[in-house]
């Protein structure tokens, strides 16, 4: 089976690093919220967003460090649970916490301008494109589970780190490419995003059934089946929230009240 004895100590020091980074990010966000509240022309940063951010990064922590993460190295179903938390649920909660908006609130005007220019650069526009973000997200998963990468990930700590960072980052990009919580330049229509979303969701569902029938290298059949089912229904459960928010934004944007004065006849 999978040999992971030789990097056990490497993983432990990595655990500490991850825990510290997660803690810093949580503290920074709370600090930024409190500082920005002091600016007189701004309202109070909503309390629920602190909670979203906190839970989001606690989930990131739980999926990378501790018992679930430990079990995920050996058991595919546990791996799939940590993948759901790291790649889908945590990114959704963090996106809803609107970190960019908070950063823009907190920064002095000239710095905020630099940041907003940065966000408009071709690179960010490209990775935030719904199709590109979907390919990075779902395509990455296909590569992970249908090649030797999954096996390699458990043997090499750097591959492990890169894969997990990719799962998280691509999950976040995908979320913010579908629902616009933060300021978003180069927006796509609701229909466009909905169509891309259906294909991405299909890619996720097809992959989970593929895993059910074809276990990744080194994974026992029963674990692959349980993992596939978890991926399928877990993906649905989280995607339903994203779809709901996307539809809700459409519903608000098309409100007849806001356009009544334009063409009342």
């Amino acid at each position: 089976m999978i040999n992971h004895g030789h990097h056990e100590s490497g993983l432990q020091s990595m655990d500490w690093l991850i825990a510290v980074v997660v803690l810093i990010l949580i503290i920074t966000y709370i600090g930024a919220g409190l500082i920005s509240n002091k600016k007189k022309h701004l309202g109070t940063w909503p309390f629920y967003r602190y909670i979203l951010w906190l839970i989001g990064f606690l989930l990131v922590g739980v999926s990378l460090v501790g018992p679930i993460a430990e079990l995920a190295h050996r058991h595919f179903t546990a791996h799939m649970l940590s993948h759901l938390l790291l790649g889908m649920l945590a990114p959704l909660l963090l996106a809803l916490a609107a970190p960019t908006t908070l950063l823009l609130r907190m920064l002095p005007v000239q710095h905020a301008r630099i940041l907003s220019k940065l966000l408009k650069t071709p690179f960010f526009s490209l990775v935030r494109h719904p199709i590109i973000a979907s390919v990075l997200n779902i395509g990455g998963l296909w590569v992970l589970y249908t090649t030797n990468l999954y096996m390699l990930m458990h043997e090499n700590i750097f591959v492990h780190l890169i894969v997990h960072f990719h799962i998280f980052a691509a999950g976040y990009l995908f979320t913010i490419s579908m629902i616009y919580i933060d300021p978003t330049p180069h927006r796509f229509s609701y229909l466009y995003r909905a169509v891309v979303f259906v294909f991405a969701l299909a890619g996720h569902g097809i992959l989970s059934k593929f895993i059910y029938a074809n276990p990744p290298v080194g994974v026992p059949k029963e674990q692959a089946e349980a993992g596939g089912i978890l991926m399928y229904y877990g993906g649905d459960a989280i995607d339903i929230v994203i779809i709901f928010i996307l539809c809700l934004h459409w519903y608000r944007s098309t409100s007849p009240k806001s356009s009544l004065h334009v063409s009342q006849n």
Binding site: A194, F199, A202, G205, K209, A213, Y251, P256, S263, N265
Partner: protein, 169 residues
Amino acid sequence: MLSKNVNETSLYSTKSKYAGRNLLSGLLFGIGLVAFIDEVVFHQLLHWHHFYDRSTTEIGLISDGLFHAFSWFATIGGLFLFADLRRRNGLWLKRWIGSILLGAGLFQLYDGTVQHKIMKIHQIRYVDNVIVYDIVWNSVAGLLIVIGAILVFQTRRKANPLKGMNLDD
């Protein structure tokens, strides 16, 4: 007297104006509803068939995945369209219900013929006389389509007094 009359005319024209949206909302919700019932009742409660019964029919797998994704989105999107119609006083309940039946029936017929018989991704149930199940399944689908189509036909857009005017919002 006059104001009641005017009110009725405007209500009728609002319904008529959103005839297409009523149809779309019902179709989407109907497809989502029947896909959901299929998944919960037949996959999870009865265990008659599972989400993947063959490991060879790739096209069946892909079409199943696309349909599932579409129906998942359609259920929610259809209900938001419904909420939007109510907000605009544009809900045409009879047409909406007809569209649900039509969407549900069309999906069930597709599932029962293309997915079950042509692609053979799964059968309704793994028994000897599966033909009995097929007949019941597709007859129910046909019945839904007929009733749905009649209701939709009865509520089709009549001569619109406001036709030709730009009614967008």
